[in-house]
Symmetry: C2
């Protein structure tokens, strides 16, 4: 305990303050004073102390005490950053739950939760290091700082990392190079001469590699340099703004690859507002990270991570690790999925 801090209020604190036993306090906290025949005056004094001292129960202690020794309780977590969208995360959660439901029974229960960290500050998440929060976790949407932290420690429990390559963990990854190449091929295959790629200012590892591969492929096939249009952020609004500026400057393009669907959605608006048609004047390819890409107008052709496969793989690996059936770190690459729709 650090100097100068007052000890937190426990049941014992209250008991001493009132001058009764911890048993009496606990009885009142559980509202069982009637059946246990505590004097109303005592109950009131305890209640008052609870309020005055600002008692907050320790859930870990309660849980330890309350749990049925006949059942194993496993806690699983999906850790993601606040800044990232929940699209993939919620799919992961649903898949984890599917597997968990199948494995739940008498003697075995699970809790699954999504926990968020501030991008770059994964290391501050309580209980991560001392394994006192989760029996197994899936970590995703990390920033380089988080990756450095992870690479520097070996978390002593089941960990699957989604979307990063870390030598000491079990990682499931998409293949951004492949994705960028396929996206370029689709646009070039339609006869596009001036393809551009729409990227956010702050690139994640994946989005950067997608864009690079796109540019490299265009270079290799046509000899021309594909332009990078830079948006401020990941939102449709910033995508729209960036593309509007590009088109407005008289710079032309006839094909566009947006490294996230949010940007593609913004691009749609800019293109239409500029009087062009999709895909006739400008063909658009997205990545399929939006739930409703099929309902964009026109429906968005996507080349991106194969989310079903990734989610399956991630969850499978997590349970393998937890059952100790694999211990070595490993990397799993999931090839891209291509969905041709009307936009390209």
């Amino acid at each position: 305990m650090a100097r100068g801090e007052k000890r937190p209020v426990t049941v014992r604190t209250i008991a001493e303050h009132v001058g009764v036993s911890t048993a009496a306090v606990s009885t009142v906290l559980a509202n069982r004073h009637e059946e246990r025949r505590l004097a109303p005056a005592t109950v009131e004094r305890i209640r008052q102390a609870v309020r005055d001292l600002g008692y907050v129960p320790n859930v870990a202690a309660r849980r330890l005490r309350a749990h049925d020794p006949g059942v194993h309780h496993l806690d699983l977590g999906i850790l993601t950053s606040f800044e990232a969208p929940l699209f993939l995360v919620s799919r992961v959660l649903r898949q984890v739950q599917r597997v968990v439901d199948a494995r739940t029974g008498p003697g075995r229960r699970f809790s699954v939760s999504i926990d968020m960290f501030h991008a770059g500050r994964l290391s501050e998440m309580p209980g991560l290091l001392n394994a006192s929060r989760f029996n197994g976790v899936i970590i995703t949407n990390t920033l380089p700082e988080d990756d450095v932290f992870l690479a520097g420690t070996t978390l002593p429990y089941a960990v699957v990392v989604l979307g990063r390559r870390l030598p000491n963990y079990c990682c499931v990854l998409d293949t951004p190079g492949e994705i960028g190449r396929r996206a370029a091929e689709i646009l070039l295959g339609r006869g596009c001469k001036r393809p551009v790629v729409l990227v956010p200012a702050l690139l994640t590892q994946s989005t950067a590699e997608r864009a690079d591969a796109f540019v490299a492929t265009v270079q290799a096939r046509t000899g021309a340099e594909a332009v990078r249009v830079r948006a401020e952020g990941f939102t449709p609004a910033s995508g729209a703004e960036a593309l509007r500026a590009h088109l407005g400057a008289g710079l032309d393009c006839d094909g566009l690859y947006a490294v996230t669907d949010g940007l593609a959605l913004g691009a749609y608006q800019a293109i239409k507002d500029g009087g062009r048609r999709i895909p006739k004047d400008i063909a658009v390819v997205g990545v399929g990270d939006h739930e409703h890409a099929d309902f964009f107008d026109p429906p968005l052709t996507c080349v991106g991570p194969s989310n079903d496969t990734i989610v399956d793989q991630v969850v499978t690996q997590l349970f393998l690790l937890m059952s100790h059936r694999r211990v070595k770190p490993a990397e799993f690459f999931v090839p891209p999925s291509v969905v041709r729709r009307a936009s390209a």
Copy 2:
């Protein structure tokens, strides 16, 4: 412990199995056998036993032991059903985190997580009843079964219910009647003669009331009965299908209120495919539960819950309850927000 179940494997089990003390086992589990000079042979025997017996650490016990007695650790949960979209939930989470960040300091830490339950089976969530999991929760997207469960118990900690009216809890609610009325007024105000409302087959309390108020308002102002177009589910695909069937059957309409934005998105597709224009031929009003309603084509006019206000109110109430500054159940009604865009 129920009959017939084998006791879970604990550190003690392993210790007895190997013939050493629990201290030795714990040392190996923490990988501190080097500094504590355990014999390599012993380490190996313990490791083998850990694997053979399938040991799973008890995180509650670890946490109790590991925690710094100088800091209070508060666990907050946002409980939602698997079936519901995460749009509002993720906004709630971000707001909770904002408040939490402001209140975190030496001596006080928080964990916030999203936990999901199967719709109608909230009661099965471990630790809810005995207060051994959370110090405070926000519950949302419940079904009537869940509401019955909640109404029948008083959870002995801070609980805020979002979107339901339960007499024994602190509830924050939108005003669906008001919402439906305003939606109808917008369409009627544009001169719509045959407004319809697009609803999912399984209505939540809120969506049902929205639709009812819409129909009632149309009835009151025009004397005509607004048609209810029924979609299978909440997805754009089912919305599109339902509206396509309606328009295809020769039944006409010149204004549409979709009780969720997902349905509105599907409706857009059906309307455009049917050769009509928005809002010229058919005006569309949604509710604003989609992140990107502003980037629909045309941008979607929304009459729905005022999410910013709701989220603020929910989080404020949670912290008031946790600091014991309010104890009585209460209801907070948040008036609708109206955002006029191009679609109506």
